[in-house]
Symmetry: C2
Subunit: 256 residues, 2 copies
């Protein structure tokens, strides 16, 4: 913590999946000591109001603007918490902050800026299921806002050929209703039909819902923007429980 209250800083804070039990002490401390808290409305709503603290809620699509705003405030001497769901380094705000810094005022590079990691959606979802990421894995965003869809298809194909468990972020939105089905078609050409697939929606929130299926049966209509899609491998196994449901894990062992 800065001794002089006029020393500005920026913390890019990972809020985790939503449940306060998964918020780290260093994230809590940054939220408590910040003079200004910025974030997408959904995430900012999770941060308790504190007297005197200034809050800036913005739309999700304005990531670079929000990053510049945060850096500007820190350069003015504010203590800024820029909040992100999950981990800020995983398809979230941290990359936008350093992109804004690279192309922004030279003085921004000297600022006290740090990223505070959080429990990512993929690890929270994996923990609920068992240990589906128990072996080599990858994370791919299916959003084609910032990269061409052809590249996403290529990555899905190569990831399946490599035998990675996959965590698919941003799987489906109103603007992109059909791409997840195209993604599943690519994976079905590469992987066994009975590979386990999980739809993990809003894990760690009151709306949490887990749906377990197979690659063959996976129905994109059950997926929304808040769903994380996990694709297993030939080494991913189900352990059915007598009370219903099953644990899912990927074996630590693999053959060539």
């Amino acid at each position: 913590m800065p001794e002089n209250a006029k020393t500005g800083w920026l913390r890019v804070v990972g809020l985790g999946p939503g449940d306060a039990a998964m918020l780290t002490p260093e994230a809590s401390q940054a939220l408590e000591t910040a003079s200004d808290v910025l974030g997408y409305t959904t995430y900012l709503d999770r941060v308790p109001h504190r007297p005197g603290q200034v809050r800036f809620a913005t739309d999700n699509r304005e990531e670079l603007d929000r990053a510049r705003h945060a850096l500007t405030l820190a350069a003015q001497g504010c203590q800024v918490a820029l909040v992100s769901g999950g981990d800020p380094g995983v398809f979230a705000m941290a990359s936008a902050v350093f992109e804004a810094m690279e192309h922004g005022l030279p003085a921004w590079r000297a600022l006290d800026v740090a990223v505070i990691p959080g429990i990512s959606a993929m690890f929270a979802a994996a923990a609920r299921l068992g240990a589906p990421l128990g072996h080599d894995f990858c994370a791919i965003s299916l959003s084609d806002n910032l990269k061409p869809w052809a590249l996403i298809e290529r990555r899905l194909r190569l990831a399946a050929q490599a035998g990675f468990v996959m965590a698919l972020y941003n799987p489906r939105s109103k603007a992109r209703p059909d791409q997840l089905a195209q993604g599943f078609a690519i994976l079905r050409a590469e992987l066994p039909p009975d590979v386990p697939v999980a739809f993990a929606r809003a894990v760690g929130s009151a709306q949490e819902r887990i749906h377990l299926t197979t690659l063959e049966a996976a129905d994109p209509a059950l997926v929304c923007m808040r769903t994380l899609v996990l694709i297993g491998t030939a080494g991913t196994r189900l352990v059915p429980r007598p009370q219903g449901g099953a644990f899912v894990y990927t074996s630590r062992s693999a053959s060539a």
Copy 2:
């Protein structure tokens, strides 16, 4: 928490990278309420002693034995915390627990078993560096204890072709002094020589040390078992700071 102290449970607890500021409240609570705490000596040493709590420290290589021991204690009515560094689902204890459950006593499947996620080494290291995982990424263990080295080579090649940022776990040990160099040779054949590479050692502990280099210059001799190796992509950028050092981030945008 169970109302009846005789109801056994098992929590596979992620301790995070080491710093207590990164330990989640739900992990802390599991450690406080457990009757028995099990783990590899290095991780168990991080857990504060509590009067009446029984502790079992074991060697790192006995993962399945430790998992069976934890399930046996929970089946006997103990409240068991099985601790893991980082996140238990990432090259750690969670997969071993469900493997032991699948092949163990049928009654184990009915037990109250849950995984408590933690801040993984890869996300802690990424946060220290900036946002190197800012785009699609993968995690690969370089240990060939449980999979053939040929499969690891294949995954490195496909991951490079896919354009994934890579987090390499278990990069080098006394028993495997030369494989990391072989891995770098494969990556050099696929990626530009100036791709940023980071060696992040023991992030979140007193021994933390970060070394930033390029794929061309990366020296395997600087890497030990406690180092996480991060390999960038053509879209990974350095933002030099006037006070020395640089932030590293991977652009959210990519072209085909």
